[in-house]
């Protein structure tokens, strides 16, 4: 098999691999993956505080769910307005 054809197949395989994992982990809600990473960073920053760390992380999760649902309903709400 010629080299360029082999490289093209390998490149296609690599692209499919990363597309699969991107779809799998991020899906159609990149905000959730991004939000989870932000919550991880906040939890790390406040890990020394017995009160702030649990409180902040829980509040952020609640805000994230609310925002994600609100964002997904935006189209229908805007169409109505």
């Amino acid at each position: 098999m010629p080299l360029d054809k082999t490289l093209s197949i390998v490149w296609k395989g690599i692209k499919s691999f990363f597309t699969f994992w991107k779809d799998f982990l991020v899906g159609d809600s990149p905000i959730l993956a991004l939000g989870a990473i932000i919550i991880l960073c906040i939890a790390y920053l406040f890990r020394g505080s017995a009160i702030l760390a649990p409180v902040f992380t829980i509040i952020l999760v609640l805000v994230l769910i609310t925002f994600a649902v609100w964002q997904k309903t935006k189209t229908r709400r805007h169409a109505h307005n």
Partner: protein, 256 residues
């Protein structure tokens, strides 16, 4: 003695596996009924074997070679993302902003597609299309379960927990397969969205808890705090459902 987190773990993995098994079963039934059972079963069995190997090899290797805190950060973040995805979709379906997952509709579409491609596909005794559809369906639906099984299995860094998680998945898959074989049609009566709401809550709670432990957050009350977290997320979910249901109702009324 069995602790509360082990029971919660078993329930979460079993429910998640049951939801995915219901979806995979629809594809298997559509393929088996339209194109024959032999190749369909072969495809499904090969996919299940691949999934079992991934759990066995990746799960066991990770337990032995990756430090516990790193595993907890990774699996916690992964579970949190999965949990939030399941929860958001389930809330949108529950409030009417997203169409419910209709197994009958998916089944009918699969049957229609597979029936039109019946001729010219058979190679000897094996139907390659039935094999491929069944293999791909089971592998893709099962991959999320594999991730959940590995994540739950790794969070305490013990082989026992990995085995418990794998057993929960197996019990759920076998149960759904038996039910599917008995009724021989898509499982439209399975309350999928309620199950997704439950699993979404549990995955979010476990994900947040383990991610926090991984980075050094000290949860008050230790493992019991899982139940407190579960209550908080559950109440928030109910609140969101009530609010967005009202929003959807007012939009629908205005449109009429």
């Amino acid at each position: 003695m069995i602790d509360q987190s082990a029971i919660l773990l078993f329930i979460t993995v079993a429910l998640a596996s049951a939801v995915e098994a219901t979806e995979a079963l629809t594809i298997i039934l559509a393929s088996g009924i339209t194109r024959g059972w032999r190749s369909t079963f072969e495809g499904a069995l090969l996919a299940l074997a691949c999934l079992a190997v991934i759990v066995g090899v990746a799960g066991t290797a990770l337990i032995y070679y990756v430090p516990l805190y790193a595993l907890r950060i990774a699996v916690g973040t992964l579970l949190l993302i999965f949990g939030l995805q399941w929860l958001t979709k389930a809330i949108l379906r529950q409030t009417g902003f997203k169409a419910p997952h209709d197994e009958r509709d998916i089944y009918d579409k699969q049957v229609a597609t597979l029936s039109t491609e019946k001729k010219g596909i058979l190679h000897g005794q094996r139907d390659s299309l039935a094999f491929a559809i069944s293999f791909k369906g089971v592998l893709l639906e099962g991959m999320e379960v594999v991730m959940i099984v590995i994540s739950f299995g790794l969070a305490n860094g013990s082989q026992n927990q990995l085995e418990t998680a794998a057993l929960a998945a197996l019990v759920a898959v076998v149960a759904m397969t038996v039910v599917g074989a008995v009724v021989a049609k898509p499982l439209t009566k399975v309350p999928e969205n309620y199950m997704k709401l439950g699993v979404g809550n549990l995955l979010t709670v476990f994900g947040l808890f383990w991610m926090g432990e991984g980075v050094g957050v000290h949860w008050p009350l230790g493992d019991i705090f899982l139940l407190v977290l579960l209550a908080i997320i559950f109440l928030a979910t109910l609140g969101l459902i009530a609010y967005f249901k009202r929003v959807n109702k007012s939009i629908t009324e205005a449109e009429l």
